[in-house]
Subunit: 148 residues, 2 copies
DNA sequence: AGCTAACAGTTGAATTTGTAACTAACAAGG
DNA sequence: CCTTGTTAGTTACAAATTCAACTGTTAGCT
């Protein structure tokens, strides 16, 4: 008699959301220690930094939409980054609801540093796969990430 | 002149840890609303439930090791599951430091329900890819998840 | 102009998580 | 026995996250 506690047909480790989470946690760990150790940043903070570094000046709302981060999280990350002089905040003259964010010189330096670390780290992660495999992985992950 | 704010060679959306995180968040969202809505469970709680449901009776430490969850998180999940009569806790007679956890009838029912939901959800997620693609994705994710 | 609704962003209280110190139980050497 | 060290699990406190309500600003309608 089969007990369902011995069910082998659906392993937890095959459940895609679980597997994705494990892979995300594991792969993010090492990078986290770097941005945390060097700049005392939280995850949302380096994300905001990268958004500004890669795409240039934009509002908090835009960052939140692109990265699917809740606005309160963005707001607090922006406050911390601004208080540490990594970013500037500038009210839009025509519509004062908008606040445009941009990197300071220090912010740009931090971004460049972390960007290089990220690039190398990414290269090391993907080096264990073939170029085709990596490309397919990225496509599939983007698809799973959906509208984000 | 190229500003690095216009750097197209390393998109944020190509950084594997970021991409993995986005995919994990997006894919976990829908399942979360189910276990949260039906049973008021948190992520760690359904994971503990699934570990016991799939692999059978085991200790909190074992669960933590298998799923790479910190022991305090497991401890609190176990307390909540036990208080809601989803699991039983039984001290090991020979070594009273160990506490063996197992599902109650209600726990097993919840597990079976969520298990079925998970299976269907997983099937829907993977249905957008070919069988070969899905298999490769799982292999790669397991590799990225590392020892976990 | 004046009213209402929508929007960008912030704040405060309640939940949840992380860190470190803790209890209780056992093991091994003296 | 009686230290000393280790292990399983808990708890206390600080940090981070979530949710809801909030401010200040603009747009649209009348």
């Amino acid at each position: 008699m089969m007990r369902d506690t011995c069910d082998e047909t659906f392993e937890l480790a095959d459940f895609l959301p679980y597997l994705l989470n494990q892979a995300a946690e594991a792969s993010g760990q090492e990078f986290q220690t770097i941005y945390k150790g060097r700049y005392g940043m939280l995850r949302t903070e380096w994300r905001v930094l990268f958004h500004l570094g890669i795409y240039g000046k934009m509002t908090a709302k835009e960052i939140g939409e692109r990265a699917a981060i809740h606005k309160t999280k963005v707001s607090r990350a922006v406050q911390k980054l601004a208080s540490r002089r990594f970013i500037t905040r500038e009210r839009h003259a025509a519509d004062r609801r908008f606040e445009y964010l941009d990197l300071t010189t220090a912010g740009r330096a931090a971004y460049r540093d972390l960007h290089e670390v990220a690039r190398q780290y990414d290269a090391r992660l993907t080096s264990q796969f073939s170029a085709e495999e990596t490309a397919l992985l990225r496509v599939m992950l983007k698809r799973l990430a959906g509208g984000r």
